[in-house]
Amino acid sequence: MEGWDPNTKSTLTQIPLLATKAGPRDGAAWTQRLKEEYKALITYTQMNKSNDNDWFRISAANPEGTRWTGKCWYVYNLLKYEFDLQFDIPVTYPSTAPELELPQLDGKTQKMYRGGKICLTVHFKPLWAKNCPRFGIAHALCLGLAPWLAAEVPILVDSGMIKHKDDATTSTES
């Protein structure tokens, strides 16, 4: 696991691995996969809370569990910056990872593809491919989104591309 900080590594090892290789077009096998996804997400969220490192909320936006929406946030200079989070489960999942989107940041950073899809590091896709089908949504958030927020939010704030919501309110009120 070259290219990741020790913190991400140790967190990752505590998220339960998945076993069923099934995508949204695979009927009953997908239901089984979804159960495993939920278990991993439940453990990961609980773990974050007990480590005082709660940083996202995610839930299925449709009964099939193919679209997910929620929020994620990052604390920088003691201020909390929160963003909408959304993604679809691709038809070729879990061979390909979900493409995580932060639509509010679309066009604000170079480290993003069109539509607000975050641009992952060169280390993400190889690790995902190597671990198919054991990695799921929780792993994608831990390996993809968490390091992205840690790297990009400080740059976005310092460059003035994003403002804290309190600042934004003050400036519109004044």
Binding site: K35, K49, T96
Partner: protein, 426 residues
């Protein structure tokens, strides 16, 4: 417009003749000149050509197909006009796909199906095809606008969707199956799918659809550092599918450690994309019209001007279920294929005996029989020729131990969903 301007000029002429006061003549002459200028501007406005019923080989400057039909006269292509029977689907109308679409349109392809979910942006203007006045349009609509102007004979269908999502994929599959253009065509409704997308996820979705439909397709790609690219022919069951082995890319020769990735996702050049689009459509024309040698894999390293080639057999352990099914069908059809190849070879031998082509063989060319191409020359995907490399590693094997064990599963999905919601709102 032209008629109205003429009328206006005539009126001015009449007025100047009937005016008693000659002091106004200079002014009237000025107005007349302005009207003439307007006439010239109107003449320069876009001209739309009308549809052409039959492709003619006649060499006149009004025939858009004369230079293409010349390929037939020269003996390069046996029957060029067949191009009007073919349907090609292009997935991804970006730097490669849009140029490929324009090339096929100018070649007079029968029907093009265009797929993309993006809009045209100013950031795309370093590439070919799209114009600044198309910014904000969907790429599919902007492409149809330009392509129908260039050649109204081509039947264009545009699909603004993302093929990696469940609904987008379903529409993609059904559009490929639809046979409205040539109802008696065998197989799917298209002759070839060209993948011109810029990401692994979309390529895997194209691979999935083509494996399920037993659809021949070609993949194309340009590296994120914009200096290399490749094209690949994929025939389900016969060649390796995109999931048979990790994707093969051209090694740029640039040391990964010196490549600076801070602050950027990807670079792009109109040159590399144009070259790859050209290679892709050339291979397409050769495959569809049956001339020359169709490349199974052709890489392009622009830094060294190096073009590695190779051939890949399907992986019997491929993780894609549809791929395994196609492989089985291909094996079952082997006796029939061998018989056809033998018959073809015998026919060729006969025709060679009839006409002794080169008695002296001044260039020392030896004729090699290449009917059985999938011989020992075909490489297994582990051994790569110089200049090629795998983009991703293979999946580890030890997970099988976990998935083979029976999963004791009494969990209820709805219950798990509620548990997550409870934690989320706590």
């Amino acid at each position: 417009m032209e008629v109205e301007l003429k009328q206006l000029n005539a009126d001015l002429q009449f007025l100047s003749q009937s005016l008693p006061d000659p002091s106004h003549h200079a002014l009237l002459r000025k107005i007349q000149l302005r009207v003439e200028d307007l006439g010239k501007l109107a003449a320069a406005a876009p001209v739309h050509r009308s549809k052409v019923e039959d492709m003619s080989a006649e060499v006149v400057d009004s025939n858009p197909y004369s230079r293409l039909m010349a390929l037939q006269r020269m003996g390069i292509v046996e029957n060029y006009e067949r191009i009007r029977d073919f349907s090609v689907a292009i997935v991804g109308i970006g730097g490669v796909g849009s140029v490929a679409a324009e090339m096929l349109t100018r070649c007079g392809i029968g029907r093009l199906l265009l797929y993309d979910y993006d809009k045209v942006e100013l950031a795309n203007m370093n590439r070919l095809f799209f114009r600044p006045d198309q910014v904000g349009l969907t790429k599919t609509d902007a492409a149809v606008q330009t392509l129908s102007d260039i050649n109204p004979d081509v039947v264009l269908e545009s699909y603004t969707l993302n093929i990696t999502t469940v609904t987008g994929f379903e529409t993609f599959m059904s559009s490929l199956k639809k046979k409205s253009f040539r109802p008696n065509k065998e197989g799917s409704g298209v002759d070839l799918v060209l993948s011109c997308v810029d990401n692994y996820e979309a390529r895997m979705a194209v691979n999935q659809a083509c494996n399920e439909l037993s659809q021949t397709w070609m993949e194309s790609g340009v590296s994120e550092d914009a200096v290399s690219g490749h094209i690949q022919l994929l025939i389900p069951g016969e060649t390796a599918c995109f999931a048979c082995a990790p994707p093969l890319v051209v090694a740029s020769g640039v040391d990964e450690r010196t490549l600076k990735r801070e602050g950027v996702c990807a670079a792009s050049l109109p040159t590399t994309m144009g070259v790859v689009a050209g290679l892709l459509v050339q291979n397409t024309l050769k495959l569809l019209l049956g001339f020359g040698q169709v490349s199974p894999y052709l890489g392009y390293n622009s830094l060294k001007d190096f073009f590695p080639t190779m051939q890949m057999r399907p992986n019997p352990q491929c993780s894609n279920v549809a791929c395994l099914k196609r492989q089985e069908e291909y094996m079952l059809a082997k006796p029939a294929r061998d018989a056809a190849a033998k018959a073809k070879m015998e026919a060729e031998v006969l025709s060679i005996e009839e006409v002794p082509l080169h008695d002296d063989n001044e260039w020392n060319i030896s004729v090699v029989n290449d009917v059985e191409l999938d011989g020992p020359d075909t490489r297994s995907s582990d051994v790569l020729p110089e200049g090629l490399t795998h983009e991703l590693p293979s999946a580890d094997e030890f997970h099988k131990a976990i998935s083979d064990a029976p999963v004791a599963d009494n969990d209820d999905l709805e219950d798990l969903r509620r548990q997550l919601e409870a934690i989320n709102s706590a």
